[in-house]
């Protein structure tokens, strides 16, 4: 059985991983604050695939920092 945890605790527990979390509580701005971890992986595509099996309200995030020093970011679209 999945257990509810604060999102910040889940992020600490699974550091530098992609996370799939079932959302159980959000704040007034819709930010997830509590949930149940469904899946975690270093491989992002595993999380993308896993979320397709579930309906409902899921949070997909990365628990590490953005690109390390020495990296610059350029997006397109």
């Amino acid at each position: 059985m999945l257990s509810k945890q604060a999102i910040k605790d889940i992020m600490k527990k699974y550091k530098n991983e992609w996370l799939l979390i079932k959302v159980t509580v959000v704040d007034e701005q819709g930010q997830p604050t509590e949930g149940e971890i469904i899946s975690h992986s270093k491989n992002r595509d595993e999380i993308y695939d896993a979320q397709k099996k579930f309906k409902g309200d899921l949070y997909i995030t990365y628990s590490g920092e953005m690109p390390k020093k020495g990296y610059a970011v350029a997006f397109y679209g």
Partner: protein, 137 residues
């Protein structure tokens, strides 16, 4: 009005954005704010989970990337919520970002254009204030 603190030392501003499809399925994803991008961008897998079929979309956009020119479908997501403020029927490009971007998608101008956006890099404050003329119909 939605407001959040961000870390000005980080290379991009990251937000949690909520997308709701026409089936009622919800995905909350980590996105980079990119007001220079024309559209929001989400992975195909997220679009499919929300109940859309990107491969059947008639609307397409051409993307110029580091690896060449690609064509990507545009879908209309029923509702997008940023910091408690929502926008309906948002055009969204379905295209994967590199895994090492560490975000799931881009919050391009198709959502921010509905808001006055205040970015204070000194204090690390980001504020979305809805433009009256673009309120939900």
């Amino acid at each position: 009005m939605g407001k959040i603190k961000f870390d000005p030392e980080q290379p991009v501003i990251v937000l949690n954005v909520t997308l709701e499809g026409h089936t009622g399925i919800i995905r909350r994803i980590r996105m980079a704010l990119d007001t220079g991008a024309t559209y929001m961008m989400i992975p195909w897998e997220i679009a499919e989970a929300l109940g859309y079929e990107p491969e059947h979309s008639k609307e397409k956009v051409t993307l110029v990337t580091a690896s060449g020119i690609e064509t990507a479908p545009i879908i209309k997501v029923k509702e997008v919520n940023v910091l408690g403020e929502y926008v309906l029927d948002v055009p969204v490009v379905c295209h994967d970002l590199p895994a090492r971007s560490y975000v799931v998608g881009l919050l391009g101008a198709s959502v921010p254009r509905h808001f006055k956006i205040m970015i204070d890099y000194g204090e690390g404050d980001l504020e979305f204030i809805r433009l009256k003329e673009r309120q939900r119909s």
